[in-house]
Structures are given as structure tokens and as C-alpha cells.
Amino acid sequence: MLPWLALLLVFQLAGEAARHALALPVPGPVLGMLALLLTLGVRGWLKRDGDAVPESLERAVGVLLGHLSLLFVPAGVGVMTHIALLATEAVPLAVALIGSTLAAIATAGPLMVLMERRP
């Protein structure tokens, strides 16, 4: 577990470093994710028949992503620090959040079904 957590952190740090060095608009963890994806891709290509994802990495990732929801809770509780602003701008924010979220889901789902329907 611990070596794989270290590996994930190393990829994240490399991502942060690349973002600063190249002044990229994409955040460090996302660059780290893309780098790990690329690493797994190369590993899979080299191994061909074998599995590119080591079983112990799979387990460590399972622990971390198994409770992905928990990781959003501390930032979510921050809602209490913005109560005043949320109250004064409640109407535009509620309309913007609900309207655009429903619209995005209603756009992506049916479009995907439409494009993937076999003729």
C-alpha cells in the first residue's frame, strides 16, 4: 500500500513541477494522472500478454477510490464560510448550478446514445 501511495505522490509532484516549469493551465494532479496513464500504456504495450497494472497497485488504488466521496467532504463543509455570499446571490447561483448541470447531463447522455446506436 505505502510504496504505491508514494508512487502516486511522486507522479503528482512531477505533475506540479511540470506545470510550474512550463506554465501550463492544467493542474498538477491531472498532469500526474496523464503521466501515470502514459506509463501504464507503455507498460501494457511492452508486456503485451501480461496485465499492465500490478495487482498491488490495483488494490491500493481500490482503497483510495473506494471512498472517493469522503475526500470531498472537507471542502464541502467550507459552504459555511460562504453562507452570506451564497444568500445574496442565491437565485443566480441556484439557477446557474441546477440549469447547467441538468442541461449538460441531458446533452451528453442522449448525444452519446445517438452516436453509439448501431445502424
Binding site: L8, L9, Q12, G15, P25, P27, G28, P29, V30, G32, M33, L34, L36, L40, G41, G44, A52, V53, V61, L64, L65, H67, L68, S69, L70, L71, F72, V73, P74, A75, G76, V77, G78, V79, M80, H82, L85, E89, V91, P92, L93, V95, A96, L97, I98, G99, S100, T101, L102, A104, I105, A106, T107, A108, G109, P110, L111, M112, V113, M115
Partner: protein
């Protein structure tokens, strides 16, 4: 006796361990109720953990900053968790090879509707400029959204809250909306949930099936990258 108890309480409430323990216990309770109610979207564990924790902090007069001294140890794990998404993403590449046409159309459309739709609606209903900039990246995962918000002149901490609210809305309203629209294909449900409701939608998608979750991870990752490139360009 009462004085002794309140002394202990004042001491404990100052300890970072308090925020950390409270967060995990509240989440475990909310998650148990969520499972007990058959993963009903309205029982979303993020929603109820936040309500319970904000209620406890408000009732006990503990400032958010002090709570966060302990809760930050959970918050920092968002970084490695984002990196870890490469694994389900890698697993999804096989299906991506089969459904890239749909994703190439549906995903950019969802990104534009989610970000520019939020900007347009917020402006239309008279939000301040800083609020508009804060709401623009709300559909993508917290670390990306906060970075974009800072870049285009929003408040990163407000963005974090709007991101969580969006994720909860998407995870609660998304599945019934997709069912109403007769979208049953797990790939389509995953793409929609991941693109519109980032990690919270993705966590919900994994509850439906591993295939739905893998597509949601893919959509969330790509939507984050697309939004991070799109918004600073159009701003």
C-alpha cells in the same frame, strides 16, 4: 463536574484530531445510511456528511479554519486520488477504442454546456463578476476547478463549494434524469455523470456498475483538461 466536562470539550475541540475524526465518523454514518437505503441518489453521503458536519460546527461555534486543521489530512488525498484515476481510465481505454465517436461528440458538448451555460445563466440572473468567474469551472474536479478559478479572477474557496454542490446535484438529479430520457447504456450514463458532476458523479457512477464508473472517470479527466484549456482562452 460540568466545568470539568466543558474544559475537556474546549481542549478536544482545539485538537486537529477532532476535525479529522468527526469527518470520518460522519462520512461512515452517512455511507451506511446510503447503502441501507439501496444507494438512493437523495441519500448521497457527501451531501449528508456536509450537512451534519456544518451543523455540528455551527452549533458548537467551531470556526471552519479550525475544523480544517484536522480535515486537511483527508483533503490532501484528493491529489493522489486524482492521479490514481489513471488506473480505471487505463482499464476504460479498451471501451474508449469502441466508443470514441460518441465520446468525441458528447464530451465537448457537455463541457461547453456545463461551463458556458453556468456563466450565461449566472450573468442573466445578475450575479457579480467574481461570482460568475467562480461558477464557470464548477463542473470539473476540485483541484482543477480551483486552479481555473484563480486564473480567471474568481474566488477559489467559493469555487470549491460550488464544485461540491454541482457534484451533489449531478449525483442526485443525474441518474433519474438519464432514466427519464431513456438513457440506459452504461457508457452514456457514465460520460454524462463524469462530465457534468466530476468526482462525486463518478463515485455515484461506480455504484451503478464498473463500466459506468470507468466511463465517468474518463469523462471527468478529459472534461477537466478541456475546461482548463477552454475557460482561460474565452475569458
Amino acid at each position: 463536574m460540568i466545568d470539568g466536562l466543558s474544559d475537556i470539550w474546549v481542549y478536544l475541540a482545539r485538537d486537529p484530531l477532532f476535525g479529522l475524526t468527526l469527518t470520518i465518523v460522519a462520512y461512515l454514518a452517512a455511507d451506511r445510511v446510503y447503502r441501507w437505503l439501496g444507494l438512493h441518489p437523495l441519500a448521497n453521503p457527501v451531501l449528508w456528511s456536509v450537512i451534519v458536519l456544518a451543523g455540528v460546527l455551527w452549533a458548537t461555534d467551531i470556526p471552519y479554519a479550525r475544523y480544517f486543521e484536522g480535515a486537511q489530512f483527508i483533503h490532501v488525498l484528493l491529489g493522489p486520488a486524482t492521479v490514481a484515476l489513471a488506473v480505471p481510465l487505463y482499464r476504460a481505454l479498451g471501451t474508449l477504442r469502441r466508443s470514441w465517436r460518441g465520446i468525441a461528440v458528447a464530451l465537448p458538448a457537455a463541457v461547453v454546456v456545463a461551463s458556458l451555460g453556468a456563466v450565461g445563466l449566472a450573468m442573466l440572473f445578475g450575479a457579480e463578476d467574481v461570482t460568475v468567474a467562480s461558477v464557470a469551472p464548477k463542473a470539473v474536479t476540485t483541484p482543477i476547478a480551483m486552479g481555473i478559478s484563480e486564473r480567471i479572477g474568481g474566488l477559489p474557496s467559493l469555487t470549491a463549494v460550488l464544485v461540491i454542490l454541482t457534484g451533489i446535484l449531478g449525483a442526485v438529479l443525474g441518474p433519474p434524469l438519464l432514466t427519464l430520457l431513456k438513457v440506459r447504456d452504461p457508457r452514456a450514463r457514465g460520460i454524462a455523470l463524469g462530465a457534468a458532476a466530476h468526482g462525486i458523479g463518478t463515485a455515484r457512477a461506480f455504484n451503478e456498475s464498473p463500466e459506468t464508473g470507468a466511463h465517468a472517470s474518463l469523462a471527468m479527466g478529459l472534461a477537466g483538461v478541456m475546461t482548463a484549456v477552454l475557460l482561460p482562452l474565452v475569458w
